[in-house]
């Protein structure tokens, strides 16, 4: 395993903030997501759905399929790293390289065609320091 993935796996072990009604166990990520596709399947699709179509109830979880915001790499980097509205920040559980890989994955799937890969360096430059849990 590459060193940055070990670091990411360790980060994921950190329990979420106390006080809320929570399980009281530590969840170990047995197989940390490595590729952008794995990050998408293990995190993003919980809200944006396996087909990238999002959902609509009292409010809307935006579709990623054909989402014009994705033309701007900085937009998706900031959104994944720092959150947006109800969507939490993920820079506490994802390393910059994982954020870069999932951004690249989303920008090249679900009908999106922005083939230029997002890099770890871009994530570090755009998203900066980690958010507190």
């Amino acid at each position: 395993m590459k060193p940055h993935l070990i670091a990411a796996a360790l980060l994921i072990l950190a329990p979420f903030a106390a006080w809320a009604d929570e399980p009281g166990s530590v969840t170990t990520l047995h197989k940390p997501p490595v590729t952008g596709e794995e990050v998408y399947q293990q995190i993003c699709q919980s809200c944006h759905m396996a087909n990238g179509m999002g959902g609509k109830g009292a409010a809307t979880i935006p579709a990623l399929a054909g989402n014009p915001h994705l033309a701007n790499a900085d937009y998706i980097i900031i959104t994944v790293a720092k959150g947006r509205g109800a969507m939490p920040w993920f820079d506490d559980i994802l390393a910059p390289t994982q954020i870069a890989d999932v951004a690249t994955y989303v920008r090249t799937h679900f009908g999106n065609n922005y083939p230029k890969p997002v890099t770890e360096a871009e994530v570090k430059a755009v998203a900066g320091a980690k958010t507190s849990p």
């Binding site: 979420f16 006080w19 009281g24 170990t28 809200c47």
Partner: protein
Amino acid sequence: MQAVNSGTTRRQLLTAIGLVGGAAALYQAMTTMGHAAETQFHGPPKLDGAKPGASVLVLGSGLAGMLAAFELSKAGYQVKVLEYQPRAGGRNWSLYGGDTYTELGGATQKVGFAPGNYLNPGPWRIPHHHRTLLHYCKVFGVQLEPFIQFNHNAYVHSTKAFGGQPKHFREVAADFEGNVAELLGKAVNQKALDADLSAEDKEKLLEALRNWGVLDKDMRYVSGLQSSSHRGYDRPPGGGVDGAPIPSTVLDFSGVLDSKVWNNMAFFMNHEMQTTMFQPVGGMGMIGKAFARQVQPLITHNAKVTQIRQDKAGVTVAWTDTQSGTASVSKADFCVCTIPLGVLNQIDNNLSPALQTAIGAVPYSNSVKIGLEFKRRFWEEDNYLYGGHSFTDQDIGLISYPNNHLFQDGPAVVLGAFASGMGAYRLTGMTPEERIETALTQGSVFHPDNYRREFSNGASVAWSRVPWTLGCCARWNEETRKDYYQTLVAVDDRVVLAGEHASYVGCWMEGALLSSIDAITRLHKRALEA
């Protein structure tokens, strides 16, 4: 406190202090006497003297919204409530056999539980110090029963310890404490702590460690009857010829550390997690139903709020009937808005820019609960487990045994997962069928012989996909508390927000109620000044 123990009762004294000095003095006195420090609840709000004809529109009929409607009505306001769902109660909710639930993305589950069985997708346990909630449960006639929070006989499981074999909480916790006591004793005896402890305190500490850690005369934590008195026996004490107990063998300390059992031990020390805890008889949703009985005529269901506007004249809320598609407008002098922030953030409004920023700055946590119905209570009959939780480091987080109908025949529902964080993200991303399959696979580690054989049916709720919240609870951190909390709770001209998200008891029903009481108290003051 002689006077308190004789003649004058404690209550009489406190009442007298309250009459003379007001609520603040009463609270101070109660705290000094060791009472009341556990809660900010000082009784239901005393709102009266609403201006004739003054009106309040409440958005959302969760506990915060219904409490606001109840108390403001009592104070004399004309109150109406708009609710997106066909049901009142919000996240206070139970799923029963025959219920249907459709999540975002369209997956629909028909719950197949036997009559009387249920899953509490949201709140499921009530700490004894959540006095607001307990007060209204009593006033509204909600019958409560004990929630079995702490079960020494339940299991802890780690894929990283003991070859993946679950161990009883009792034995791993005792071995953790025993080894820590032995090591600390060594440090004391090797004079490593002489700079921190007087000779007298060293002796007291050694005595404490010997007792607490069940150490032998040489200050060692070893297999034997002493350690077995905490961790359990290979053959427990009995009667007659074979009455003598046979001690158990302590676990390898390295494995105890690998199990991270201290995490589970510390969990039970959290103030919110301490016993005694309670649950309503018949499911947590009984609380929402009891609140709804007080205010149901005020509630309009299936109302999706599309716009919130306030001006000098009042508050105007546009909404759509989700059944008929008809658009309507409701007006009032004031508004209590309990809509979850992630939803509110998407509703067109003219709240102050600072409040809009605050609403958009607070993300929501995820969480997954899975109910598994089994044909019989094998955990009771075969494993002597009566309530409580078995913890695991797998995605499901824990399984929790039912607290009600103990010793009965017939089907019962185990909470087959209470996942948060990464585990919840992964479970949420699955179909309902995949979640049940995963819960069965992971939960089988505790009950390999029975888990699949006795399984009957299951249901799951993944909070990120709940259509009316888009998440479980508001997630604050130190920075957002500092930057946005006071703005979020402040009365914004004619509108005030309430709910668990506007409290420091986040993700608990108590937080929703305390927030609501505080919000309507300030709104009432604002209304009287208008």
